[in-house]
Symmetry: D2
Subunit: 335 residues, 4 copies
């Protein structure tokens, strides 16, 4: 099978990670790296002599040898760059959270379908060993009926100019929620957020998301915390999970704990705790971005849909938009 | 000065703690313990031979030697028992969160004023070494302009029958917020909450409270977490605090960290981090309940108002009521 | 069956814990508490009105109703007080580490045998849920061949006058080692220790103990650490254990980790790691001292030998003596 | 000033780290990478197109443009490779722990002196922000009289074939000890160690090192621990330090804690604790290896002695040799 030939657009934070990981794949080859900043072009030209680093995106689009384009530029440029690439007959990998509106996302999805192109969004977290393990535990019904998902994703962060902390950080949690609970449709979203340091962009937010089946998801994101916390609790009727992403080697703890209402006959509202063993499963340590890139390349080669195809992940954009709407109106948004 | 003579009503969870602590005070003496359950009367009679344990509350009310009554019964009985005690001429210490409605609270406050009696509510947290230290740091303007207060108070908890997790756990945080930011009036409250195990009482809740001066407080309480977390973050423009109440000896960490907008000239929305030393102050380890009991006794002896006098802490009840209202209506409640 | 009637001698740190726990047993009754300090007699008389608190030990010895005596006085007095009690026909519970020399221990054991009395030493740790679980794991061969036992027991501690940090803290570890590896006889002991603050008593020590079967035990004890650590690692060919006694609820972690020499064919000295799941078993939370007291009472009632009978635990004293000898001579002591 | 031109010998674990760091220096340039394995030559040729990767060490030695050679090969080859380089007129950076015997080390030092060459040993830890901060605290007498240094450096490690765990891991601690306490000469060393998995190389060891001034250092190293621990305690009469190298951002904690003998009049052996604030200083985060490489290059340019010149760090080799001797003889070795 021929190697898939790719270009990486955007050499800021994420682009170089993409280059490093795709570079290690057997069935892929990076031909171009592209950015408007000459210092970055110079820097990576030295590091990767086999890749051509350029500032002109059109050269990538016109090169018939290029199969696919990975777009790791600021969110506001995603729509335009992806549209150009799809129209030029390229497959597209877009950085999360895809595009800045549902409307633009739908247009790209339609275009990709017309062009028979793969349009994948890079929600890297879904390829981590931790999330894969949690997905398997939920699908095997080890947790029982799911009660809640509760995420805290805070640190002293880079205050971005172009989008708020929800679009930056909560996008991860929303993608994880939609992936883990793919059978439970989101019903409503409510968000509160505050701007302390500037007048345009919220730095702290709390989001409540209701899903079918009584699942309640809550997400706390902040760029203003003195400590870095990346912690997700998932509670079910049989077991509960603590997923601490800061922990270097023991990220996922499965607690055989819960509350047995059935045990109490006379006082149903005063149930006993149930507390058992705790189990820390071994996780696959492969770098998630490598697995994501590999998946993208395979989808191109085998002409099959990606697990994170545009239409699947467009809901994340819809939820992000709804968060902004909820903040603006101060009320719950039905989906 | 004569010893203050007290009765403790309710021998469930908190009452025996009150007895143990008041017992160690020099200027106080417990004469009665009172409960309807005979097994508890028997148990504590053996443990405290000098205290008379009885089931008849009227004996306490009629005894002219009794100066004050400490009420540690279920919340639904607080109003009735406190009213009887005040009418009988006793000072009253009520367990948090005082009473189940603002209306009842106002009636008790008026009655106490009329009777010239101390009516104190036992918000023990305000007497801890940790909260005292944080109060001093804020009052000395060490944190700068306060941005946020963020509390997580979750564990696998006793599901109560008579009031929800907000009245049970968030009451602590609300009292701490009102104490720390006594110059910033609460403006609005918004709460979401869910019932997974029964149809009457919420087990999980998220509360957003806006205060004057742009302070945003958020409280996450739950009886359904597999792990116990008692963590408060307070962020200011100069310093930030992490208060971890689970930590046995290093509860309060002061981070000389923040974000300097001023440093960045060209891109004000992309400011640099400021990161400095961390400082863990030594805290007073005296048991908070002992200090609270001591304060109550002194207020009686010196006829002065308590730091947690009814009219000061009634706002907690008002906020709790507003949380319930917000949950019922699905919207923000102005105060 | 008649209740066993006991006296507790010594009301310092450990005696009151004994009283509190024995008090809760159904088949036992404390008749006397005994101490030379009148303030302690007064304090506990108020707390326990049903117990007679006295300063005269002879009254205990002469009282024919007393079955057993629990001795919680300084180590230097153990021998004398235990001998008097045994000669008076009482069963004896001695605080760890029994007596200050093997010679005295042997004399007491002989005397107890002659008098047909129970002589138990209170190594409370052996009754904890953590040590019981570890003992079961080892006995079920879940760890495979045992390689090592490594304990760190350090804090900012009370500098004692009458015995060094080894007799104070390492006694716990030695009792745990002898209990866990009861089939592997100790072969040699080597200890180093230092006196920084005074000229009589060592405050820091490191002990290496060799046992049959190639097990090497190491114990680090100190009264001069700024942080409190209570951590034991046990390594076997199949699994390894970390027992962290500071941890409130997850004390014992079982690691399915090791090194597989067999896997490597060409380079036997460069073997691969084997890393699997981690498991945190639920532990029995009953207070260990209660279980120890219960065991003592049952041994008296059923006239059977205690699990910690004098002749079984005399080896701890022998090892402690050997540590002192090793420090004095600067060399390994064969046992 | 001309750039210093270097070659890196050995492309296993440490060599590529050297290349990456030296590559970022302004006043240095790597011309050669050298290894006997062709797969490594191929791999790094692709990654660093400006460096010539070869297998023939003689080409490096003969190239008159090469100023210095960095030797990152197995320890057993250090002596031979360094000798060749010095004789060829090159400066030499040797990986820790220099060479496998004091005799060889002395020969190299003499040769370097004769050739007027820099002979530096790369004890990277001494360039970390943590060790630099601790050194400053000790030199400023903030800790008071030093009582002890206690290191635990354990994990599930690569079992090496050519040298034991002491030469692999304890070498770090010994270099730190000699650096921190450079005014206190080592007096004696005692080591115990065990071989569980093979007959040649010890996998676990405990070392006790006595220094002038009453400082006692203890080092626990192991390749057989299920958990990774990198923790050093340093106790002084005024303050104590905990240095936890696993901690991502709060590595050094300074405890204002101790024991005040002076406070106690009557019972000098029963002193009170002194417990104050804790302070976590901000550390320089620059990668230590970069600072070490920079230092080496500057020493060459300015013809001045390195902080880790051969004669300064030869004592580490002497202590390592003495550990082996102590294990073989089962007794303390005077230095």
């Amino acid at each position: 099978m021929n190697k898939v030939k790719l270009a990486v657009i955007g050499l800021g934070y994420w682009g170089p990670n993409l280059i490093r990981n795709i570079n290690e794949l057997e069935n892929a080859e990076i031909k171009y790296g592209c950015d408007l900043r000459f210092d970055l072009i110079k820097k990576y030209s030295l590091a990767y002599p086999n890749i051509t680093f350029i500032s002109d995106y059109n050269r990538v689009l016109k090169d018939k040898n290029i199969d696919a384009v990975c777009i790791a530029t600021p969110l506001s440029t995603h729509y335009k760059l992806a549209k150009l690439a799809l129209n030029a007959g390229k497959h597209v990998l877009l950085e999360k959270p895809m595009v800045s509106s549902v409307e633009k996302g739908e247009e790209l999805i339609k275009l990709a379908r017309k062009k028979n192109a793969i349009l994948m969004v890079d929600y890297t977290f879904l390829f981590t060993g931790a999330v894969s393990k949690i997905k398997a535990l939920i699908d095997n019904n080890e947790l029982g009926k799911i009660y809640y998902f509760d995420s805290e994703r805070i640190n002293l962060g880079l205050i971005r100019q172009d989008n708020n902390v929800i679009w930056d950080l909560a996008a991860h949690d929303l993608s994880i929620i939609l992936y883990l609970f793919d059978k439970n449709k989101p019903l409503s979203v409510f968000a509160t957020a505050t701007k302390h340091l500037n007048e345009k962009v919220e730095e702290m937010a709390h989001i409540t998301l209701e899903l079918e089946g009584g699942i309640v998801a809550h997400i706390h994101v902040s760029w203003l915390s003195p400590v870095k916390i990346r912690k997700i609790l998932i509670g079910g009727s049989k077991k509960m999970i603590v997923y601490n992403d800061i922990e270097p080697s023991e990220k996922v703890k499965v607690y055989n704990k819960g509350i047995d209402i059935s045990r109490e006959k006379v006082t149903p509202f005063n149930p006993a705790y149930r507390s058992g063993d705790i189990y820390i499963p071994k996780l696959d340590n492969t770098e998630a971005l490598k697995l994501a890139a590999e998946h993208f390349v395979k989808c191109i080669q085998k002409k099959k849909k990606s697990l994170m195809d545009g239409d699947k992940v467009l809901m994340v954009v819809k939820l992000l938009e709804s968060c902004d709407k909820s903040i603006a109106k101060g009320k719950k948004i039905k989906l």
